[in-house]
């Protein structure tokens, strides 16, 4: 029998791996991918509790999160392309135009 704690810990593991990726990676594209991983980890929780409580609302929210992730990926990748056209780099620590 799979208990709710199993899903919680799977989601926690994916969330923490995504958080480590966001904090440590230099490549902005991989940082965006890590954010997708974090959103996905949240979806596991929503769907698991939707199943446990027998309420379909959690799955509706998972759908909204997937739509949000699509919007975020489109805009974020557009920003990356615009930035690469200006500065010829995708490294987060070379994006220091506003830093002094």
């Amino acid at each position: 029998m799979i208990s709710p704690a199993h899903y919680l810990f799977l989601s926690l593991a994916l969330f923490l791996i995504g958080a480590i990726g966001v904090i440590t990676r230099r490549n902005v594209i991989v940082v965006l991918m890590s954010i997708e991983l974090i959103l996905n980890a949240v979806n596991i929780n929503l769907v698991a509790f939707s199943r446990i409580f027998g309420d379909v609302s959690g799955q509706v929210f998972a759908l909204f999160i997937i739509a949000d992730a699509a919007a975020e990926a489109a805009v974020g990748l557009g920003i990356i392309i615009a930035f690469f056209r200006n500065r010829e780099t995708v490294f987060a620590d070379e994006m220091d135009l506003l830093k002094w």
């Binding site: 029998m1 995504g18 990748l77």
Partner: protein, 174 residues
């Protein structure tokens, strides 16, 4: 029994490929490993009998968002990235933050059920063969209780589309 095997298989694949994704040097390898993680998560959704989320995950995430990522990796010159170092210098900070967060949430999970009246209210989920059809239930909920958020999401997608085009197009006047 079959449930357990399915869960542990997909969970193992998801965590393993996610860990590899964060540590690979090549961004294309990271993208492929992220696809593996998302497919394994889709398997978890199927094991949870959320068929519509399962198919949406595959079509939208794996088929849509990841193709977008691969496109951008192709447009952006990444061969310089292979010689540079992968991680920024704050990797110890990151490990500490992740460890602290993990321990904290684990302690909350483990102790939540010990406190009277404050634990997770867990009831036995309905058996799988007694569930109503998933897609019909989802559609009924989405188009009655959540109709307004649904319409707002469509506006959000329109705004994101226009924003992405404006961001990525070439400036003609320069």
């Amino acid at each position: 029994m079959l449930d357990s095997i399915t869960f542990y298989f997909f969970a193992g694949v998801a965590v393993l490929s996610a860990a590899l994704m964060v540590t690979r040097r090549n961004a294309v390898h990271s993208a492929v490993l992220l696809v593996t993680t998302l497919l394994a998560t889709a398997g978890i959704f199927l094991q949870l009998r959320a068929e519509f989320i399962f198919i949406t995950q595959i079509i939208l995430y794996v088929g849509g968002i990841m193709v977008l990522f691969i496109f951008v990796i192709m447009l952006v010159r990444l061969d310089v990235a292979l010689q540079h170092m992968r991680f920024r210098l704050q990797r110890w900070v990151a490990l500490f933050v992740a460890l602290a967060l993990g321990v904290e949430i684990t302690v909350v999970f483990l102790f939540a059920r010990r406190l009277p009246g404050q634990g997770l209210l867990i009831q036995e989920p309905a058996p799988a063969d007694k569930l109503p059809p998933n897609t019909e239930e989802l559609a009924r909920s989405l188009f009655s209780s959540y109709l307004l958020p649904f319409e707002i999401a469509s506006v959000l997608l329109l705004v994101a589309m226009v924003g992405a085009v404006v961001m990525a197009k070439k400036r003609i006047d320069q």
